[in-house]
């Protein structure tokens, strides 16, 4: 009786392995001779342009708004004038706790953020060629935050803007993030007769605040 059980476990294991085994076997048999991986020479892409103004231009092209700011409190003040009477607000910026009307520590589940109005986060770096900003989970206390909020504000330093995505991934080398997102503009769709609508399932607006260092 004991022997039969062991045999059955063996067969069950083999059955579980078989698709993986079958697929890898087929691929090994059918793949061509190894081709070289190309070397990426980024210099062929470089242009002598002002990357900060390119970044600003691209953020606007993708439907975001760009502002300059001198301090965290200044960001709060500008945000308050953009969105005067919002109920649920949260900012990660140092020294701006007074702005917050929710406490993420008391959050039971991410779903409770469904009515979040205004969210202010810090970006790690920005990419001039496409107006994208990288946010990792290290800055996101709750992953759904930048997507579930109604209005999103991202703060980024001038010196953290890189020209191309290649430099962005250089910065990410060796950084072990559980989750990260390259975020470019407010959510949007053109699925109804190609008419662009800003505000789909994610944030309805994106405001980027550029800070001097």
């Amino acid at each position: 009786m004991g022997q039969k059980k062991v045999l059955m476990i063996g067969i069950k294991k083999e059955k579980k392995m078989s698709s993986r085994f079958e697929i890898l076997l087929k691929i090994k048999a059918n793949k061509p001779d190894l081709l070289d991986l190309p070397i990426i020479d980024e210099t062929v892409f470089y242009e002598d342009i002002d990357h900060i103004s390119e970044f600003k231009k691209k953020v606007e092209i993708v439907g975001g708004n760009v502002f300059e700011s001198s301090s965290n409190q200044d960001v709060i003040n500008q945000v308050k004038s953009l969105y005067p009477s919002t109920a649920l607000n949260f900012s990660v910026l140092e020294g701006t706790e007074a702005f917050n009307t929710i406490d993420l520590n008391t959050l039971k589940k991410p779903h409770d953020l469904v009515d979040l109005d205004v969210l202010i986060l810090k970006g790690t770096f920005g990419v001039a060629e496409n107006g994208a900003i990288w946010i990792s989970d290290k800055q996101l206390l709750v992953r759904v935050l930048p997507f579930i909020t109604k209005h999103l504000i991202l703060v980024i330093k001038h010196s953290d803007i890189v020209p191309y995505l290649h430099q962005g991934y250089e910065l990410l080398k060796g950084k072990d993030n559980d989750f990260g997102v390259l975020l470019s503009g407010p959510s949007k769709t053109a699925d109804i007769e190609q008419s662009l609508v800003i505000g789909a399932q994610g944030a309805l607006s994106l405001s980027v605040f550029l800070m001097q260092d």
């Binding site: 698709s19 993986r20 079958e22 697929i23 890898l24 087929k26 691929i27 090994k28 048999a29 059918n30 793949k31 061509p32 190894l34 081709l35 070289d36 991986l37 190309p38 990426i40 020479d41 892409f45 470089y46 092209i61 993708v62 991410p110 469904v114 060629e129 496409n130 107006g131 994208a132 992953r143 759904v144 997507f147 579930i148 191309y164 995505l165 991934y169 990410l172 080398k173 072990d176 559980d178 989750f179 990260g180 997102v181 390259l182 975020l183 470019s184 407010p186 959510s187 949007k188 769709t189 699925d191 109804i192 007769e193 190609q194 008419s195 609508v197 505000g199 789909a200 399932q201 994610g202």
Partner: protein
């Protein structure tokens, strides 16, 4: 139904054809503006092509590396030999947690496997949350384009669908209003969902992470709320290193819609605390296509849809006329590999103009593969006897100079003397909407011989 029959039906409404053609050409045009603004664009395409070709030549090892790293990251990895097994795997994950409500972001792979009907047959609710996918889901149609699923639907048609299914007020197809209403409705679905299913744009072997690109944020609204996230991918979506994302993310959105990048490019590496993350690696014929040297490059596809937007035939016949999960030029080289007979008309739904190959961000030689599939189909799929005979006759005529001259003379005489009403009668398909040229008295050959004689 063959492509040509479906296309003929589509062309009965010329106004609709013009509308559909213009809509897609506009997307092609936006792609042009975007690509032409990137210094080194052609180098980028070359890199994309070479990275993908290299990956395919080492695919088994990269899959093993990806699995190892994904498992270390806490992602459960499943392997599905075909579409049915993929569906069973997804279903069993759902069943194990008694799942009733699923939200799904765009995944052509799940379309290919026909996942929705499989789950719905067991009473599981699956909501497609990409607005275009949601529209065709309500219309009970398959998507007609891999990036713009509802491109064939007018705003008035969408308005009616929404009125009927989610109780919107008649708005004459106001995109802003309809999108807002969809947002409200889908937001509730995200909150209630037990499982989020997403596709995968790129999976990175080096790190065991995968990237999902959307403009709407629907993949993230699903994945960051639901306690279970299942990502479904074809095995060819792998890339070797994280740094290669720079190449593909620069190419993808520009080729697809002309945007510099999608709004969200979400990099998933580990599940969030208390969340279960699964990835299902699907073969479903890809390993077989890998073994076809002439057609292997079709597996480089990053599903941007640029070939569809540029194809003059796709624009004038619509995605549904291809009767394949992936339509258009890329679909016409992938589908025959899966079912040669069913899809035998697709490689002929082309003039081999080559535009698709030139917009493809990973330089797949689509038009060359279409030509090659034609040679195979005429040998392996029964062809109309008239076609076979006429080809043999032509081959015969053109290899015998004297015969060619005789046939040419008869053709010219016929065009000169047979009444137009007979020439342009029903059997002459050309003559339905076009005149044939007049038959000249002399061929070039006749003229040349005469000139030579006169000179002597």
């Amino acid at each position: 139904m063959s492509h040509s029959k479906a296309a003929t039906l589509f062309n009965e409404n010329e106004a609709k054809v013009n509308w559909h053609d213009k809509a897609l050409w506009f997307v092609r045009h936006k792609r042009d503006l975007s690509a032409h603004a990137v210094k080194g664009w052609e180098s980028l395409r070359q890199l994309g092509s070479q990275i993908k070709a290299h990956t395919l030549s080492n695919l088994d090892n990269y899959l093993i590396q990806f699995e190892e790293n994904a498992l270390k990251n806490g992602i459960q990895v499943h392997w599905a030999a075909d579409g049915d097994e993929h569906n069973r795997i997804v279903h069993s994950i759902l069943k194990a947690s008694n799942v009733k409500k699923v939200v799904k972001s765009k995944s052509m792979l799940t379309e290919e496997c026909h996942l929705n009907p499989f789950l719905e047959a067991d009473g599981i609710e699956v909501i497609d949350t990409d607005l275009g996918e949601y529209i065709v889901q309500l219309a009970k149609e398959p998507p007609s384009h891999i990036v713009l699923p509802a491109i064939h639907k007018t705003k008035e048609e969408v308005d009616e669908l929404f009125q009927k299914n989610i109780g919107t007020k008649p708005s004459g197809g106001d995109p802003q209003y309809l999108t807002n209403e969809a947002r409200k409705h889908l937001r509730e679905k995200f909150i209630q969902a037990d499982v989020a299913i997403t596709g995968v744009n790129f999976a990175v072997a080096e790190t065991g992470e995968f990237v999902v690109c959307t403009n709407e944020g629907n993949a993230d609204m699903g994945a960051h709320l639901a306690p279970i996230h299942i990502a479904c991918m074809g095995v060819e979506k792998l890339i070797p290193k994280q740094e290669h994302l720079s190449v593909f993310l620069r190419l993808l959105a520009r080729s697809a819609t002309g945007q510099p990048i999608t709004t969200y490019s979400s990099h998933f590496k580990r599940p969030r605390k208390e969340q279960k993350m699964h990835i299902v690696l699907v073969d479903n014929g890809r390993s077989v296509q890998l073994g076809r040297p002439d057609f292997r490059a079709s597996l480089q596809c990053i599903r941007c849809g640029a070939c569809m937007n540029t194809c003059p035939i796709y624009r004038r016949s619509g995605g549904h006329s291809y009767n394949a999960t992936i339509p258009g030029p890329i679909g016409s080289i992938l589908s025959p590999g899966k079912d040669l007979k069913k899809h035998s008309s697709l490689p002929f739904a082309s003039t081999l103009c080559g535009s698709c190959s030139d917009v493809c961000p990973v330089k797949i030689d689509i038009h060359k593969q279409l030509y090659k599939w034609r040679q195979i189909i005429t040998k392996e799929v029964p062809q109309p006897i008239v076609k076979k005979i006429s080809m043999k006759m032509m081959g015969n005529t053109f290899s015998k100079p004297n015969h060619f001259k005789k046939v040419g003379k008869i053709a010219r005489w016929s065009l000169r003397h047979i009444p137009k009403s007979i020439i342009n009668s029903k059997p002459n398909i050309w003559g339905k909407e076009r005149d044939l040229p007049d038959g000249p008295k002399e061929s070039f050959d006749d003229w040349y011989k005469k000139r030579k004689k006169d000179e002597q």
